[in-house]
């Protein structure tokens, strides 16, 4: 359970041999693991992978509204993007937050590929009237989130589940913070309908 060389902050990209950084056990800091993985430490990368993939997989599958099995391709894509970019990771934010932002971009690209194949729009127009679903039966929260339109789902997951601020969401998605707020407002209304099972006319 030791890290023989702890590298933190901006020193993480220092030229150190992966052999010099012995990483074992789960008490190594993410920064030390990142530093070791950057210089080619496969063991350190595997430890990072094992530590953060369960949350990443949950996040990605929730954003996509898909089962975990379907989301694994996006998780793989996320790690393939994240590994070369590890050198850019600074300890300004938690590693899991940084990884989720990479995962979000991978999920967006996956959804855009789906959009080209004719699936739904990612983000609804702010001025578009809210179409509340007609849903008579109460729905489980997880299913209700999955049933949301992709744009609503993404912002609700980022804000209400993962705790991102509207400013962070706006930065990640390239939208205005006001758009994020408006989308969240609509997303919550639709979700409440799905959860309570009320009919369309009851809620409007």
């Amino acid at each position: 359970m030791t890290v023989s060389l702890a590298v933190t902050g901006s020193d993480q990209s220092a030229l150190v041999s992966p052999d010099l950084i012995r990483v074992s056990g789960s008490d190594s800091s993410d920064a030390a693991l990142v530093a070791a993985a950057v210089v080619g430490g496969e063991a350190a990368f595997r430890e990072l992978f094992r530590r953060h993939t369960p949350h990443l997989l949950q996040f990605v599958s929730r954003v996509l509204g898909q089962s975990a099995g379907d989301a694994e391709d996006v998780v793989q894509d996320t790690w393939l993007r994240a590994y070369p970019a590890l050198v850019t990771f600074r300890n300004d934010s938690a590693f899991s937050t940084w990884l989720c932002s990479v995962g979000l971009r991978a999920a967006l690209d996956s959804m855009r590929r789906g959009k080209r194949r004719g699936t739904e729009l990612l983000l609804e127009d702010d001025d578009a009237p809210l179409e509340l679903p007609h849903h008579e039966e109460r729905m489980d929260l997880e299913k209700a989130i999955a049933a949301l339109a992709p744009g609503y789902r993404m912002i609700l997951v980022l804000h209400d589940v993962e705790g991102f601020t509207h400013e962070e969401i706006a930065l990640q998605l390239g939208i205005a913070p006001g758009t994020s707020k408006a989308q969240l407002f609509k997303a919550r209304r639709v979700m409440r309908v799905l959860l309570t099972g009320r009919e369309k006319n009851d809620v409007q």
Binding site: F45, F49, T53, H55, L57, L80, D160
Partner: protein, 125 residues
């Protein structure tokens, strides 16, 4: 359009907070990712590792051959003078034998006496 009345109620917050945070990935996902990263040249690909082992083996063999060759040459060189001396003692003609004529050794004509050489030079000048 957005107003604070639409904030989450306490039961809603609690329900969202109670959502599972993790899913265990499939057993093969880690290997898939590591293999994909290796194929992109990270961590030292298997082919690269194999090639580096072959290169190291060839280098070690070459270094060993050079060392052994050097030692053998050194021994040979050290052994030569004494062997040569021993051979010379056995096979060289005795000092009391008459020396061979110069022309038998160099295959050149016997040197003329100096007066003749000087006379010939003056003729050319």
């Amino acid at each position: 359009m957005y107003n604070e009345d639409q904030d989450l109620s306490e039961p809603e917050r609690a329900a969202l907070a109670a959502l599972p945070r993790e899913i265990s990935p499939g057993d093969l996902l880690e290997e898939r990712v590591v293999r994909a990263l290796r194929s992109e040249g990270h961590f030292g690909s298997e082919r690269g590792v194999r090639r580096s082992w072959m290169t190291a083996s060839v280098r070690i063999a070459a270094a060993a051959a050079l060392f052994i060759g050097g030692v053998a040459t050194g021994r040979y060189m050290l052994a030569q003078p004494s062997e040569r001396a021993a051979t010379a003692n056995v096979t060289s003609p005795a000092n009391d034998l008459p020396a061979a004529p110069v022309d038998q050794i160099t295959h050149s004509k016997p040197v003329k006496n100096s007066e003749t050489v000087v006379a010939e030079r003056e003729m050319w000048l």
